[in-house]
Amino acid sequence: MGIEMKEVVFIVVALLTVVPCLIVAFSRNILYSAFSLFFTLLGTSGLYFFLDAEFLAIAQVVVYIGGVTVLLLFAILLTKNIQEIKETNALSMKRAYFAGASSFILLASLIFLAVKEWKFFEAGPGTDYPFLTLNQLGELMLNKYLLPFEAASILLLVVLIGSLVIAKRAVK
């Protein structure tokens, strides 16, 4: 059974996503975790390219890596307290068993689905999937998905107001 090139590339990209992900969840150094998240997000972006979703891949890089990760680093630096970081970064052992069990059940059931029921996921192809997704995405966004698009814009407005409310100085 020959392994195709594509599959090898997939495995490499997947590893690039999962390994930093493990570091995020288990590392004791908060900065390592934040930078690992950066790599996980980058790996995900690679997967999007793999799945012909170029626009999302770029959006992922711009929004997540350019926005969220930088925001996170700011938050870490603004709240950093060296003595505390060491203590708090240890995993909480009393919750570890419960967490381990529940996430294991979750994982097992999902993998069971993926392996046993995979054929249902290979349903017949739809029609609206174009070769280049960018134009199509824009058209859908302003046509079929206009309502969620507008809802998202209201949501961003709320976030704008909200973060000002949270961050501004006290009323005199």
Binding site: C21, A59, N81, A99, L106, P125, T133, A167
Partner: protein, 100 residues
């Protein structure tokens, strides 16, 4: 051709790691990172389904999830920093003014 189930397994693994991190971590920022992992894994599964079903809906959904995730990051970190200003700890075990 990479089978779809590989993507689903990958997404499941990421989601479970995220859930584990969320439950087990003490530092609030780390909990926040785990949450981002969970959202990210959902996005992977959406794009994979979208590709294999040849339907754009999944990609549009991911677009909104990314938007909301960024919005949540802004709000969440703002709340976190205000919280830190008033009581300098980010240890979730010490956040017990309201006994749970």
């Amino acid at each position: 051709m990479v089978p779809l189930s590989w993507y689903i397994v990958l997404s499941a693994v990421l989601f479970s790691i995220g859930v584990f991190g969320f439950l087990v971590r003490r530092n609030l920022i780390m909990i926040f990172l785990s949450m981002e992992l969970m959202l990210n894994s959902v996005n992977i599964s959406f794009v994979a389904f979208s590709h294999y079903l040849q339907s754009m809906t999944g990609q549009v959904m991911v677009f909104f999830v990314i938007t909301v995730a960024a919005a949540e990051a802004a709000i969440g970190l703002a709340i976190l920093i205000v919280f830190y200003k008033n009581n300098p700890t980010l240890n979730s075990d010490e956040i017990n003014l309201l006994k749970g």
